[in-house]
């Protein structure tokens, strides 16, 4: 059976009747009566929509208004509509149907009168439908014009057609916010996804008054079907996730928590992190997350303890990791969550698992996600599985967190000084002796950091591991998060204890956190470590390279004093010393817990 969520328009057009026969033969379809009032000819659109609704468990009956008489049929002569008794009225128009486009000499002050006039016509339609039918109304907002005659100015000038479309769309959104029965279909973004070049079909418009390409009709129909599902409470509610090579790269049972790919350190890890963030964003708007993985339960859970894991166990509403077939686990999850499997979307990188779930539990949506996790959010999004009809409080329990983020915009305004700006970043540092999970990243940083790197010493992973075990050395790593997200592991300092002195063999930092006070935080931590060991001073060196000029003055900037020159250093090197007795912590704008000592 063709996957109607992802197939091309021609897959549907070439075998429409056969598909219809197949889909209409299914049992348990619920009736829905949809009136389509349109500014163009709608037979082909309704034929496509019918297939999608049948596929969603509805048996639609359509009333199609006459070409371009949507206003008359909704307001003046409602007899046909009344006889039809619609459950849903779909007002299907386009920017071609705009009637009060301002003239090119329109001023900023006059623009709103044109918007008002255009909206007044729609208000008449909505009021009439509300009074006469009390049914749900869905109206699309407007796509941008395909041929804006003013070029870029079309989006700027008060008389520009692109500008007018955007003003209208904002007003439509405001109206929808005040009218319970009005839902807006976002044609503006749907047309952007398809592309305006592939949206309007002028030949078909001139020939048959069909405005859109088959591709555009299919995109509109898919979106409308998702809105109908949402209205009837049939949007999906649960995202079921595989683990290995879906939520993180690698196999946790083989690679261990330190070996899986997640975080910021490789392109692959970034892609898994982005997918986890997408999952978390869905959860924060009310979609439940569940895990369905072939794994040892205890081992699988350790994946969520990885410091870079965006998803934590607390985000997972139901966790099934075992060696039973996945479709059996999915049924168990349905029982535990007290939801039908028809509210599930299953995501797994393994095509064999997808196939068996699809075969055993056809009600579960199983998007063909492929094996490239960077594409997963777009593929899942294209399925429109989780369309909300309304947003209610329970949908965003984390609204407070969002509110904090939203302040970013307002705070960007002005700061009295740099410190105030740093405070606004809400920075938190985690600085500690290295753990095994960071061996690879730290070795990698020592080999690729050239600018903020005082000695440019390179280490292999084996050497880092050896230093970590050596009591006379300390390898400190620093991670920094701020309001904009997690910057990952950004700084490394290696100290070597020699009599009553801590020699600083390596000090490096990623340039993405330059001028954030992170070097001060690292110094505070290093001092704490040195004092804990009963040492008197720190000694550090700047060994110049063509690339590390930016840190030539770092030590004096941090309060180090010039120490006697050493013979065997490269030309231009300098040696610096810090006395620990008189040291006062320097970090003012980064939150950081004191170094924990085992």
């Amino acid at each position: 059976m063709t996957d109607l969520n992802t197939c091309r328009a021609e897959d549907i057009l070439l075998r429409r009747r056969a598909l219809r026969r197949e889909l209409a033969a299914r049992e348990g379809l619920s009736d829905v009566r949809i009136a389509v009032l349109s500014g163009s000819t709608t037979e082909q659109f309704c034929a496509i929509l019918e297939l999608l609704l049948l596929d969603s468990g509805f048996r639609p009956e359509f009333h199609q208004g006459h070409y371009n008489r949507y206003y008359e049929e909704a307001v003046l002569d409602t007899s046909e509509l009344q006889a039809f008794k619609p459950d849903i009225v779909y007002l299907h128009t386009s920017s071609r149907n705009i009637q009060h486009q301002p003239t090119i000499d329109c001023t900023e002050a006059n623009l709103h009168t044109f918007v008002d006039e255009e909206i007044a016509r729609w208000q008449e339609i909505w009021d009439s439908l509300q009074q006469t039918f009390r049914c749900q109304v869905i109206q699309n907002n407007f796509e941008l014009p395909a041929t804006p005659v003013l070029g870029n100015m079309a989006a700027v000038a008060p008389g520009g057609d692109a500008r007018f479309v955007q003003q209208l769309n904002i007003r439509l959104a405001e109206e929808a916010g005040q009218r319970q029965t009005l839902l807006i279909q976002d044609s503006h973004s749907i047309s952007a996804q398809v592309g305006l070049k592939h949206w309007f079909d002028t030949d078909r418009f001139f020939s048959y008054k069909i405005l859109h390409t088959p591709e555009a009709q299919l995109a509109l129909a898919r979106s409308l079907a998702s809105m109908v599902r949402a209205i009837y409470g049939r949007s999906r509610k649960v995202l079921l996730l595989d683990l290995d090579n879906t939520l993180w790269g690698g196999v946790i049972g083989d690679d261990g928590v330190n070996g899986i790919s997640i975080g910021r350190e490789t392109p692959e890890a970034e892609a898994y992190t982005a997918f986890q963030q997408y999952c978390l964003a869905l959860r924060e708007r009310g979609v439940l997350l569940a895990v369905c993985s072939k794994n040892d339960d205890a081992v699988a859970r350790t994946g969520f303890t990885h410091p870079d894991s965006v998803l934590k166990l607390e985000h997972i509403s139901c966790f099934k990791a075992n060696w039973e077939p996945k479709h059996e686990n999915i049924e168990a999850i349905a029982r535990e969550l007290k939801l039908g499997v028809d509210s599930f979307v299953f995501v797994d990188d393994n095509p064999a698992e997808r196939a068996i779930v699809r075969a055993q539990l056809p009600q579960v949506a199983v998007p063909e996600v492929g094996a490239s996790v960077s594409q997963y959010p777009a593929i899942i999004d294209a399925g429109r599985y989780f369309e909300p009809a309304t947003l209610v409080k329970e949908d965003f329990q984390r609204a407070a967190q969002y509110a904090a983020n939203a302040q970013r915009e307002t705070q960007a305004a002005k700061f009295a000084n740099y410190g105030e700006y740093l405070d606004s970043l809400d920075m938190h540092a985690e600085i500690a002796p290295i753990q095994p999970v960071y061996f690879e990243r730290v070795a990698q940083l020592t080999n690729k950091s050239n600018q903020f790197n005082l000695t440019t010493r390179r280490y292999t992973q084996a050497e880092i591991e050896a230093l970590a075990r050596d009591r006379s050395h300390v390898v400190l790593y620093g991670r920094l998060t701020d309001r904009f997200g997690d910057n990952g592991l950004v700084s490394v300092v290696i100290g070597r204890q020699e009599a009553d002195t801590m020699q600083i063999d390596l000090w490096l930092m990623s340039c993405r956190v330059l001028k954030r006070e992170m070097e001060n935080a690292m110094l505070d931590a290093l001092v704490e470590e040195a004092k804990e060991r009963g040492l008197k001073r720190l000694v550090g060196r700047h060994l110049p390279t063509p690339k590390n000029g930016m840190v030539a003055a770092m030590y004096p900037g941090l309060g180090f004093a010039r120490a006697p020159h050493e013979e065997n250093l490269p030309e231009g090197s300098s040696v610096w010393m810090l006395d620990l007795d008189s040291y006062a912590p320097q970090t003012k704008h980064i939150h950081r817990p004191e170094l924990a000592h085992a």
Partner: protein, 85 residues
């Protein structure tokens, strides 16, 4: 598309007409047209043109659609377009 002749094109058109006109039994000939063929109304015509364009990977211009009076015209236009490729 190999071996494109008036006969093979007509043969290829049969299942398309059967689908567009919703009649599994129908067989069209070069003289079939909207006037002498059941179910070939304006809406079926839209589907038909769409499906023919998709199947043969051709695109009819507005003027050509206007000149197309029967199945024979359609067959000849398809061959002409494929030869120009």
């Amino acid at each position: 598309m190999p071996d494109l002749s008036p006969d093979t094109v007509l043969q290829d058109l049969q299942p398309i007409f059967q689908e567009a006109l919703n009649d599994q039994q129908i067989v069209v000939t070069r003289v079939s047209s909207a006037f002498n063929t059941p179910n070939w109304d304006s809406l079926a015509h839209i589907d038909l043109i769409e499906m023919v364009e998709l199947h043969f990977k051709v695109k009819f211009a507005l003027g050509e659609l206007h000149e197309m009076k029967n199945v024979g015209d359609m067959v000849d236009m398809i061959i002409e377009k494929k030869e120009d490729d």
